[in-house]
């Protein structure tokens, strides 16, 4: 599959994400924030970083980038979209995902190898994992606290939209230890930890993150 990775001004992890897409067995396609064009890709990754310097709010300005018009439309048609860290923030600001991400409750940037439990394996990004799989991937964020009102949180849990939860330590004050969520349809997933940094034995915390990039299969939404 062709998987587009969007580069915004201030994206940091776009190159790692493209590499992870390749290691996952897919063709990575670089997409530019200023283009009204998804170049025929079958799925999109919004990478981590500090797009637009996190000015105003994380993801608030990227949300209005020309390419996001196309991403929002494609997501509505069912195209798989994965937002990692800053990408997750962009998806929340775009209202493709519920809730919001606020400053870590302890006020400090956190960078650690984080244990997670994968709770929803029915999304196009998590099908390679066994339900309840416990994995360790890199986490690094300053504004990673997932918040939503209680009704929304209950709905997310009730409908199985919690994709991953923090195990052991809650690193940023996220409500109900939520590390990642999906939209109702399941094709749009946001994740605060960085699976793209945990795809090779040489670097990172291991290879537990690779599943997010091997999960995509042609039949998912074709």
């Amino acid at each position: 599959m062709k998987v587009g990775v969007v580069t915004f001004p201030g994206s940091l992890d776009d190159v790692d994400a493209r590499r992870a897409v390749g290691l996952g067995g897919h063709e990575a396609v670089a997409l530019w924030h200023g283009d009204h064009d998804l170049r025929g890709v079958d799925a999109v990754v919004l990478p981590g970083g500090f797009s637009y310097g996190d000015y105003l709010r994380c993801g608030a300005i990227s949300r209005f980038a020309p390419v996001m018009t196309e991403v929002v439309e494609a997501a509505g048609r069912g195209m798989p979209v994965l937002g990692i860290c800053n990408g997750f923030q962009v998806l929340c600001e775009s209202h493709l995902l519920p809730g919001a991400l606020i400053r870590n409750d302890h006020q400090r940037f956190v960078c650690r190898d984080q244990r997670l439990r994968v709770e929803n394996t029915r999304t196009p990004w998590t099908g390679a994992y066994a339900e309840g799989a416990e994995i360790t991937v890199v986490l690094k964020n300053g504004e990673g606290g997932f918040v939503a009102d209680d009704a929304t949180l209950d709905r997310l849990e009730g409908q199985g939209q919690v994709v991953a939860r923090y195990l052991g330590v809650n690193p940023n004050g996220s409500m109900r230890d939520i590390a990642g969520v999906a939209n109702e349809r399941g094709n749009v997933v946001g994740l605060m930890p960085h699976p793209e940094h945990s795809v090779e034995a040489l670097t990172g915390s291991g290879t537990d993150g690779l599943g997010f990039f091997t999960s995509l299969v042609e039949s998912v939404w074709a």
């Binding site: 608030a60 929340c92 600001e93 606020i102 400053r103 870590n104 409750d105 606290g145 918040v147 004050g173």
Partner: protein, 96 residues
């Protein structure tokens, strides 16, 4: 030129780590009696021409579209009647 002010605040039920950090710092500096601090943002919009209801409606749409995130923040809009360039009394009082 008229100025329209948009104040954006975290909703009461949303944790405000920055406000909490400020609250924690005050007693360390010897200030007492403050029981809570919430930190928000203030936007000052210079607008061309008269501030009509239509302009205010536009500003409200800017506030809910871009300046605030309605999931976690609320906002208020008001016209700043203060004469521009007038020194802020509270800001200069502590000067050298």
């Amino acid at each position: 030129m008229p100025r329209v002010v948009v104040d954006v605040m975290p909703k009461p039920e949303i944790l405000d780590p920055q406000g909490k950090a400020v609250l924690g710092a005050l007693p360390r500096l010897g200030f007492s009696g403050v029981t809570d601090v919430r930190q928000g943002k203030r936007f000052e919009l210079e607008v061309a021409g008269e501030v009509t209801d239509a302009v205010l409606e536009d500003v409200r749409r800017m506030a809910e579209t871009l300046l605030s995130n309605p999931v976690i923040e609320s906002f208020t809009v008001h016209v700043d009647d203060a004469v521009q360039d007038q020194p802020a009394v509270t800001g200069t009082a502590a000067g050298a």
